[in-house]
């Protein structure tokens, strides 16, 4: 009797233990489930409430966005917008919530590739009702970024100018160079800077996106927006000769190991933040960082460099004369809606207004393509310099890697990010990397089941 009971107890123990293992292995799933039920709890179709899952957390813009919401609430006192700061895991949280059938009313998504997936699954609601106010405030170039399958599903609320290079002003002065206008000038200046005793480039190669951004700017400046968008949509293969040309140009930078802070091996372990502090800390370990407008914020918060005297920025120099040098590569947060209620419609239209943009723009760390917002709203000269081009840009392209299916374009260590890190390691292996890029891209585009 005792033995048999014990055996049964043993079986129970086994089941529990198995279950614990399973639970450990599937922890993520159950966590996602909790989140989605929560989201459902705040939006049971009650009119006048909008649940919003956002990427901005307390350190990255929750406050200014809350100010935008508060101003909206003043306009529509009966509509409550509940903002939930999810952070960088937002695409994951949304994917789980959508799979579980309980997405929030609205969200801001930084990856058009993710939006495209949702749109193809018919999980998003078109925002055609806001066409009037969108047309009034945004140029067609901007609006096209929110169109998927010919329908307006989203619009870029917050944008970052990615076609920028930041430089250490004293280092440039020591070397006696000025901000270059063309790519060959840039390469020459880099040589001069190296001769002056400071490596020219600081590259945050531990994070793959800094490398894809570099490639994208080179490709855009060499071949212009039309071809850029074609490659972005995988209508041009990665084995195309145009990619070869762009990679050759890129190798001129990445292959100049002694001109990179820490050399290639060091660059592969430097995070984006480190790449910035390398170039603008004291003593400066490098002179230039190829990255977007938000570099300015990192410099101000993590180094002692001052605008204009310590650091400054220039627009990505031209490579081919024919390519549109005024084209701007951006990254940004697109507003999407998973439901369609009067309250949501009111909030979407409000977000598209110049007034809403100005509230955040005034507080800094914000760019917009809303051309009815005056550039004078921006709080300082550097921000005006980096964001003003967005207002007048005739041609805007979205960060290519964000445009791809996430498995190819935005997964750490995999796809484009991982392969460009391999390229940084061996910049001579151009055709090899092209083949691998194409294989990975083809696999990611095929997997649409």
């Amino acid at each position: 009797m005792r033995r048999r009971n014990l055996r049964a107890a043993g079986a129970v123990v086994a089941v529990v233990a198995l279950a614990i293992i399973v639970a450990a292995a599937f922890g993520g799933t159950s966590k996602g489930a909790v989140k989605s039920t929560k989201a459902q709890a705040v939006n049971t179709g009650v009119k006048g409430k909008v649940s919003f899952d956002g990427i901005w957390t307390s350190s990255t813009g929750q406050k200014p966005f809350q100010a935008v919401i508060d101003a909206f609430h003043k306009k529509y006192p009966n509509v409550t917008v509940n903002y939930k700061p999810v952070g960088n895991n937002l695409p994951t949280v949304l994917a789980t919530a959508v799979a579980g059938g309980h997405p929030p009313d609205m969200a801001d998504i930084a990856q058009p590739g993710t939006i495209k997936q949702f749109a193809n699954q018919h999980k998003l609601k078109p925002i055609t009702y806001a066409a009037g106010v969108l047309k009034q405030n945004f140029s067609p170039a901007w609006l096209s970024l929110g169109k998927f399958g010919g329908k307006q599903y989203a619009f870029v609320f917050k944008a970052a100018n990615k076609s920028l290079v930041w430089y250490n002003v004293p280092a440039f002065k020591t070397a006696g160079v000025k901000s270059p206008k063309t790519f060959s000038q840039l390469l020459n200046d880099a040589k001069t800077i190296k001769a002056s005793g400071t490596p020219a480039y600081s590259i945050g190669g531990a994070e793959g996106w800094t490398l894809t951004d570099l490639f994208e700017n080179i490709y855009l400046r060499t071949f212009g927006p039309a071809k850029y968008n074609a490659l972005s949509a995988h209508k041009i293969k990665w084995t195309d000769p145009s990619v070869t040309t762009a990679l050759k140009s890129m190798a001129k930078i990445l292959g100049d190991t002694s001109n990179i802070a820490g050399g290639t091996a060091g660059a592969l372990q430097d995070s984006f933040n480190q790449s910035v502090t390398n170039a603008f800390g004291s003593p400066a370990k490098a002179a230039m960082v190829f990255e977007a407008d938000f570099v300015g914020g990192v410099i101000l918060s993590q180094t002692k460099a001052k605008p204009k005297t310590g650091f400054n920025t220039f627009v990505w120099p031209q490579i081919t004369a024919g390519a549109n040098a005024k084209a701007v590569e951006i990254a940004g947060d697109l507003m999407v809606t998973f439901r369609d209620t009067p309250a949501i419609r009111a909030f979407v239209k409000y977000l598209a207004s110049a007034q809403a943009a100005a509230i955040w723009a005034k507080q800094g760390g914000f760019g917009t393509g809303n051309h009815n917002m005056s550039a004078s709203v921006y709080p300082d000269a550097i921000t005006r310099a980096t964001e003003a081009p967005l207002l007048t840009a005739k041609s805007v392209v979205f960060d290519m890697s964000d445009n791809q299916p996430p498995a190819f374009g935005s997964t750490a260590g995999q796809g484009e990010w991982g392969l460009f890190q391999k390229f940084l390691e061996k910049p001579k292996n151009i055709s090899g990397i092209q083949k691998q890029l194409e294989t990975a891209a083809a696999a990611a585009y095929k997997k649409k089941k």
């Binding site: 279950a19 292995a25 994951t92 020591t174 995070s271 996430p406």
Partner: protein, 448 residues
């Protein structure tokens, strides 16, 4: 069983006799009521997710179920190089970690029995267990940093290597013109010189703050009969200047060792440069010479090993992980040791066994059950290892450090969005854990 007592015993053993008193049914009912909450929790949080995951692994990328793909997800698992790396790495983890943890734990446990400050020592070794794996990852990431100014391990390396070979005054300097060529770690002027010649040794790549103190405007010396003289200077001024030409604003580099080599390549004279960079070799007999800067000037400081680079990342992770778990093994094994019958050890000693023989032939066999607990626990832990990889491996080498649990997370959640393959990996891990678990359960039963 006392009548009226509540019993959670499952109804095994003798079947209830026909016409059992109603009290028995009542007891089952009570048992059922008490079991329900636990069963509901189990069902909702464990059984359902497990079953769903197994089913999900046969379906496509997205959606609640997606499209049926059969065993395609599993095929992907064993064909794509990404997952094959993960499986290989997991195999390395299983092969290395449990054995090392058990061995280290054993050594620590046996040693702590003999040292005076054993409690302090045990606390120190056990401490890593009290730190979250994530914090451990961050800490080790700094320890492993390649830059010796940041990473403690490489800093140690620099101290040692600098003591052996001290770094030169101009470790980063480069020749300013192709006329100056690398030669055995130093630089050598290509053009041959004769007595009365002047050697111009221009260097660049020296930051103004790295210039030796006391340097003044460089001077191009006038040729003198019977001498070879020259100048070593920072051949750079804002904008670049003219390479190879001593210009105004360019400083001489003092303290550089310049060597004069005969046509056979032998060093015949050496000299140090002055504040303005000039040097001269006197009493040079007729012949062909070449001048250059000695290798010691350019000796680089130790640059650090790339612990987190593609080659060393998995060993680096293993070390950090063993560091965490050695304390756990030590505590468990120490408990086993203290419960061990001392008279057996005494008997062995009396019989003339030395300490090593006692350890090898008596202690270890007696500890075998405890060691196997440690071993099996570690195998299960290591099959599921995730956090240390996530926290410690930089993105650029995550793929080289990949393990199954990490691959699962990345594929399903972190950008991959492929729940089908993600579930397949989860099921695969589950299958790997089952035999180990079965072993554990069987041992459980034997011990009870």
């Amino acid at each position: 069983m006392s009548a009226g007592g509540i019993s959670a015993e499952p109804p095994v053993g003798a079947a209830p006799p026909p016409g059992a008193p109603p009290g028995r049914l009542g007891r089952y009912l009570t048992a059922g009521v008490f079991l329900t909450p636990a069963l509901v929790m189990l069902g909702v949080w464990m059984v359902y997710p497990a079953v769903y995951t197994i089913v999900r692994s046969f379906f496509g990328q997205t959606g609640f179920l997606g499209t049926w793909v059969g065993i395609d997800n599993y095929k992907t698992l064993f064909t794509s190089s990404y997952f094959v790396t993960a499986i290989k790495n997991n195999a390395i983890w299983v092969a290395v970690v449990p054995a090392f943890v058990a061995a280290l734990g054993l050594v620590f446990a046996v040693l702590t029995e003999r040292v005076r400050w054993s409690v302090a020592f045990k606390t120190a070794v056990f401490l890593p267990m009290a730190i979250s794996a994530f914090a451990t990852g961050v800490t080790w990431r700094i320890l492993y940093d390649q830059d010796p100014n940041l990473g403690a391990i490489n800093a140690l390396g620099r101290v040692v290597s600098d003591a052996v070979t001290p770094p030169g005054v101009l470790p980063n300097a480069l020749p300013s013109t192709p006329a100056l060529q690398p030669h055995g770690g130093g630089l050598l002027l290509k053009t041959p010189l004769h007595p009365g010649g002047v050697a111009l040794l221009g260097l660049t790549g020296i930051a103004p703050q790295d210039m030796p103190k006391g340097s003044t405007q460089a001077v191009r010396p006038a040729p003198k009969a019977g001498q070879i003289n020259g100048v070593v200077w920072r051949d750079f001024k804002p904008g670049g200047g003219k390479p190879g030409v001593v210009e105004k604003g360019e400083l001489g580099v003092p303290g550089v060792t310049v060597e004069l080599r005969s046509s056979s390549g032998k060093v015949v004279q050496s000299a140090k440069t002055d504040a303005n960079g000039t040097f001269d070799f006197t009493n040079v007999s007729a012949g062909t010479y070449r001048a250059g800067v000695g290798a010691s000037t350019f000796a680089k400081s130790f640059g650090g090993y790339s612990w987190l680079g593609t080659r060393l990342i998995t060993p680096s992770l293993l070390i950090a992980y063993i560091w965490i778990w050695a304390g756990f093994a030590m505590v468990v094994i120490a408990a086993g040791l203290s419960a061990m019958p001392r008279d057996v050890l005494e008997a062995a000693r009396t019989d003339g066994a030395n300490e090593w023989q006692v350890f090898r032939r008596v202690t270890v066999p007696l500890l075998a059950p405890v060691l196997s607990v440690v071993f099996i626990t570690m195998v299960i832990n290591v099959l599921k290892v995730f956090d240390i990889v996530f926290a410690l491996a930089p993105e650029s080498t995550q793929q080289n450090a990949n393990v199954l649990a990490f691959a699962m997370w990345q594929t399903a959640f972190a950008g991959g969005g492929n729940f089908g393959v993600g579930s397949a990996i989860a099921v695969f891990i589950f299958l790997l854990v089952i035999p180990v678990l079965a072993l554990n359960v069987r041992r459980f039963k034997r011990e009870i």
